[in-house]
Structures are given as structure tokens and as C-alpha cells.
Amino acid sequence: MKKNILNLAIIVFIAFSSNNANAQYNTLWIPDTLSGTHFELTLKDTFAQFKTGNQTISAGVNNSKFWGPTLFFNKEDTVYMKVKNKLNDSTTLHWHGMHLPAVMDGGPHQVIPPGTIWQPYWKVTNNASTYWYHPHLHTMTQEQLTKGLGGFIIVRDQHESSLALPRSYGVDDIPLVLTSRRYNASNAFVTTKCSYGDYMLTNGTPNAQTDLPKQFVRLRILNAEMERAYNLGFSDNRTFYIIATDGGLVNTPVAVTKVILAVGERIEILVDLSNDAVGSSLDLEAYNSGFAIGFPGGEPGTTGEFGSLLNNTTFNLLHINVVAQTNNAIKSIPSTLANNTYWTAADATVSRTIKVTDGNPGPNSKPFSLDSQPFDLTQINNTVNLNTIEKWTITNNNVFGHTFHIHDVEFKIVSRSGSSVGNYEAGWKDVLYLPRNTSATFVAKFDDYSDSIHPFMYHCHFSNHEDGGMMGQFVVKSSTTGINKIEEELNDFSIYPNPSSEKIYIKFGSPLMQAYYIKINNSFGRTIYMLPRPQLQNGIDISNLSPGLYFLQLTDEKTKGTITKKFIVE
């Protein structure tokens, strides 16, 4: 039968060409790059050939089939994002690790309906490091992440650029997003009751291999799994050097032979290939066997919700073929990378404790939660005063390991119960791994951005736990943006010119008014634009709107009151 013959053919991953050198491997796909200050991201349904047989429904960004382009930001630039949702479903897009206003953050409150364009912007104040963007729609995060929505953000700054580090993207500076997937009989991704995938995808490539030059190479590694942690190491147990954690360079390189990277965490490492022969190869592997119970991915089962073919085993992440050195090869590691001054526990003026709760197996099992309060979009769990340095202790006297992620800030882990803080996590972090029966304490400063109504999230970054309610939210309040006790009159505004075909402008009835949020709806009630804190001096471009009647809904910054006005596009 023709079908059977073709089914025996080698899997060719259509999105990414296969490499003839080593037939069992596929060439590692490197995401496209976007740079500058204005970024357009279109999220859309698509499909890709991951396995022999039927294609797998996936989600891509712009032209990708799984995982989106890498965004390059320069520190101090203001970046303007235009996110168009062309998915079949609502979504959100969170800028993981970015310090920005809550209304721009892309958490569960910034829902982008299908067909809508969301335009957040912010000034990049983060240090040079590796960040990422991903969907954050409550209860739907696992499904949308599983389909492949997400992408890297690489921030560059003057200091990092002055160091002799590899930074030729895709040549000696390689982004690696690690995740795995389970497929059903029709080759569709399994998105429910599935904590672990069975087949590794490195940058969306099954059985990935890549050529790397005979010199120091930088790998920017992100764990974008649902639950699995990776105990990273090389097949010859060689030493490698951690140069950056989630939020920036570490002060000095940290030499290791293994390091655990849990869900949501990033790490930048340098690996020295200068002594490897051209034509030789080595493997980046996950040494995940033999962990105590509670290690995510250490469960012995191979099937079911908590089992996987990759659990409690050593498996390959990337096959590396050493090729000739490039010009301008990096041949040594700087001895000093940064001069970070970290806050200490003594700097904190407010202490909070968060406990991992529920999740115990049994007949009355409830999903994991934080402080016994399943996430509620309408409930603010904590209020932080602007400019406060706070100390948060997260305690996990529970049945399993988790990761803890907080939005808005990069933090410094100051202590862990039962062990010292590892050198590998000594830098700025926004995710920490919280093994079973441990606690961790971090210190962070909540500066720059306050908002009385839009909250930031903190949560377990296991998307199934987060979807199940293991998440809380906090607002950052300044003394001037508190909920107004005095009823203030909301002043009026007008739209001109009206009708218009190119741009509309807003004229406020009072100089005290400022736009906190503008939403433009068409006459069917469909939201066309979501514009958080729009910069109105140059007007709002409406040239892409088809002629007709529209509604502009403006929320005032100070009062948070909303007024809707009609305008006509001709």
C-alpha cells in the first residue's frame, strides 16, 4: 500500500528542513528576529508536521508554525507593541520578566478577543538578559502554551554590549526553548490531564541537532514546559558557565556541570567548544533520573496524567556538531560580568508569607492553591505600596515541587530553608524553583508603576496549576492613586474631526483628564482596538477601519470613570 510505504518515510518536519548529515536528527529551528521599537505580532492558528501521519494543530506568531519570533529590545527604548489576535479564541500576551505598568502587562485581565488589536507600550528598564512572552488567559494558559504560543525577548544594554560575549544570534548565541508534548491518536496535542509530554521539542524541533562553532558558545535556555524541570548537563559532563539568570548577568560566571532549570526560568550559559575537534559531537541532555519524589518529571510512570515516556530518565535535548571557528570567535570568559548590588533581607520594610496549599491526592482533592484561596479575577489578594522593598517567603510544605513567579519585578533570593541559595540562582530572578518541603525568601522593590485597579499576578508557573487556580494578584498603590474617597466628577471629552477617515483626536473637557484606557468598538460591539494609556498627542490612527459607525470608550486615569462617544469613519 502506498500509504504504508510513505508512512515508513523518515519524519520530515516540514517547517524546518531536515539535515542529511544525521538522518535521525532534524535541524534546530532558530526563530526569526524582530528588532527596533515598533513590533507587530499576529497570533494565529496553524498546523505543523511533528509526527508521521496527520498534521498537528498549533499556534504561531506572524509566519511561524510553533513559537514566535525573538524580539530584540534595547534598554531605555520605549517599545510599542501591536498584538493582533487572529486565533479562534480569546487570549492574552504577557511580557514575562518585563518591568512595566500593570495595564500593559498582558496578564489575565488584558483579554484580547479574536480580531482585536491590543497596543501596549513601555520603556524598557530591564537589564540585558533573556525574557519571553506567552499567553496568560486564565484557565486556558496550558492549552494555548501547548499549541506553541510564545517567543523570546532578548534585552540588550550598554554594559552587556561592552563585554566580550558571544552575541551573533543563531551562530554563537543560540536561543533554546525546551518543552515536550504528548499526542493523541490523531496527532493532536493533548492539552488536558497531561502534566508532561512524551516527545521532546527543542525550539519546536523534534530530535534537534545544530552546528556550533569551535569556540565559546552562548546558549539562552528557557524552560517552557507545563511541569517538567530539566537537570541540564552535557554528555561528557563538561563544565559550563552560567553568565545570566532570569533578570540579568550574574556578577561572576558560575562554573557547573549540572543545573536544574524549572518551568519559567531562563539561564544563559557559555560552553567551551574550542578544544573539540571539528566534526565531533556532544549532546545537551536532561539528567532527570533518580530524583526524590516531588521533582517535576521524576515520577516513574510512563502514562496517564502524571506519567511520561521522558519521566525519571536521561534524554537528549540537543545534538551538537562542532564546526569551524568563526571570525571574531570568543575564546575566553570575562572574569567579571556585572556589579549588581542586591537588596538584602534587612532592606525590606514589609514581610509577607505565601503558602502552597491544597492539591493533596484523594477523593476530596482540590487543585493546588496559594493560601487556600483559588484564584479569583475579582479578588485582590495583596496591596503593595509603591517604592516599598518587600520580603516574600514562599512555603511549600506540600506534596510536590512548584515554581513561583511574580510579575512586575526582578527579585533576589535571600534564603532557602535547609540549604543555602545556590550560586546558579544568585542573580536577578523572576521565577524560583520551590522543591517539596522547602521555603524560599526573596526581596524585591516595587517601584515606578502603580495602578489602583489593574493588578499584577504571582503564581506557580506550571500552567496546569496556574489554570487550576494556583495564582494570586496584587496591586501596587501610590499615595496619589488610591481608590478615590471623594467622588470626583468625570469631565466630558469630544472627538474631532468627526466624521474622519485618517485620524481622530480627543479634546478633554478638563485638563485633569487623562486617558487610562481607550477601546474602539464597531457597531456590532466587536472590539477593534484596545489602547492602554494611549499617547493622544498624535491622534488615533483609524485609517484601517472600514467606513461606518464606531464607539470610543474612554476610561479616565484619575477617576477610572468611563464615557462612550460615537464617531463615524467615512
Binding site: K2, K3, L6, N7, I14, K44, D45, T46, F47, Q49, G53, N54, Q55, I57, K86, N88, D89, S90, V103, P108, H109, Q110, V111, P113, P114, G115, H138, T139, M140, N184, A185, S186, N187, A188, P367, P374, F375, D376, L377, T378, I453, H454, D467, G468, G469, Y516, Y517, I518, K519, N521, F524, G525, R526, T527, M530, Q553, T555, K560, G561, T562
Partner: protein, 210 residues
Amino acid sequence: MMNRARALTLFALTFATIGLAGFTVAGFKYDRNNIIEKTISDFRLKNVDGSSISLSDYPNAKGFIIIFTCNHCPFAKLYTKRLNKLSKMFDSLGVPLLAINSMDTAIYEDENFQKMQEIALAEKYNFPYLYDNMQTVVKDFKADHTPHAFIIWKENEVWKIKYSGAIDDNGQDPEIATPFISDAVEELLQGKKVAKSVTSSVGCRIFYRK
């Protein structure tokens, strides 16, 4: 896990002022194996040519191939030529093909009737492409993704589901696909039981309006 519809509703109530989705959507579950032999009610839907079409308009039909499809789904788009081929193959044998779009246009604008007309014209559809804008038909069939194929067969003057699932098992390459639908129709025409009566439909999810 929190009910999705509830989460979105709560959300809409709380944050309506800053302008977010006002609709609620809900997934649903059903036992795929239970759908076989289910009786389907006759329906009447608007066709892209402006006419309205009902099962009763086909007094000589032995059965129907019913395809829930849509305009925008990249996976559904792979099947347009195959639908024409299936329709051509079985229409003269008394098994007409009807394509139905039941996507919620409140969610996805491109699923509107005008776009359906454009696609039917561009793809030279040789079968009706019907607009289930109230989602009554899709709820009767309980279709879950586009494309989702059914075969219904006339038994004692009622229409019974004999097949539910994918059109075939390879979206990209019809040459190597197992043709679930044509196999099943052949079996029914020969008076046999459908050997493989249930498969999974693969594609974009059909959200049911509350």
C-alpha cells in the same frame, strides 16, 4: 479547574469598564462513541446562493455527508478540493454533501455570510454551504472542530448518525490519507455496518454560544 465561561463572565463584569470581551464562550464535552445512531432533526438553513435548504428537499437521498467547516480555519482550508471530490463522487449515488458553517461570528468576524459566499465562489463549491448562524444544527450534531464530518442515513424515515469524526487522517496529503468518509459511505451503500464509525475531528474548535 474553574469553569471557563464563569471565569470570563466574572471577568467581563469586573472589567467591563476598561473594555474587554463581553461574550461568553464555553467548551463542551460529549462521548464520541455515544453519538452513533443518534437521530438528527431536519433543519432548514440559508445557502450561499440565497436559497434555503432542508434535508426534506432531497426526497431521494439515502443519506448525507454533513461537514461542519468554516472560512478561516487553516486546517479546514486544506479540505476544500476534497469536499468537491466527495460531493462529485457520492451525489449521484444518493448521498449529497452539505457543508455547514456554525462558527460564532460574534467571536470570529471572518465567519460571516458574505465571506462564506466569497469562499464558495472562489473554491467552486459543487455543494451547498449553509449558514447555521443560530448554532441549532451544530448543537444537534455536537460537532466540535472544523472540519468535523458526519454521515447520516435514512432509517424508517428518520436520519441517524452513522459516522462522526475526521474526513480522513491527513490534512496535508490526501494521497496518503485513509479516506474515512468515502470508506464509510461505500459500506453504507453496500448495506454494511460502518467499520470505523468514530474518529477525532481535528482543527479549530467550534465554541458554542450560550
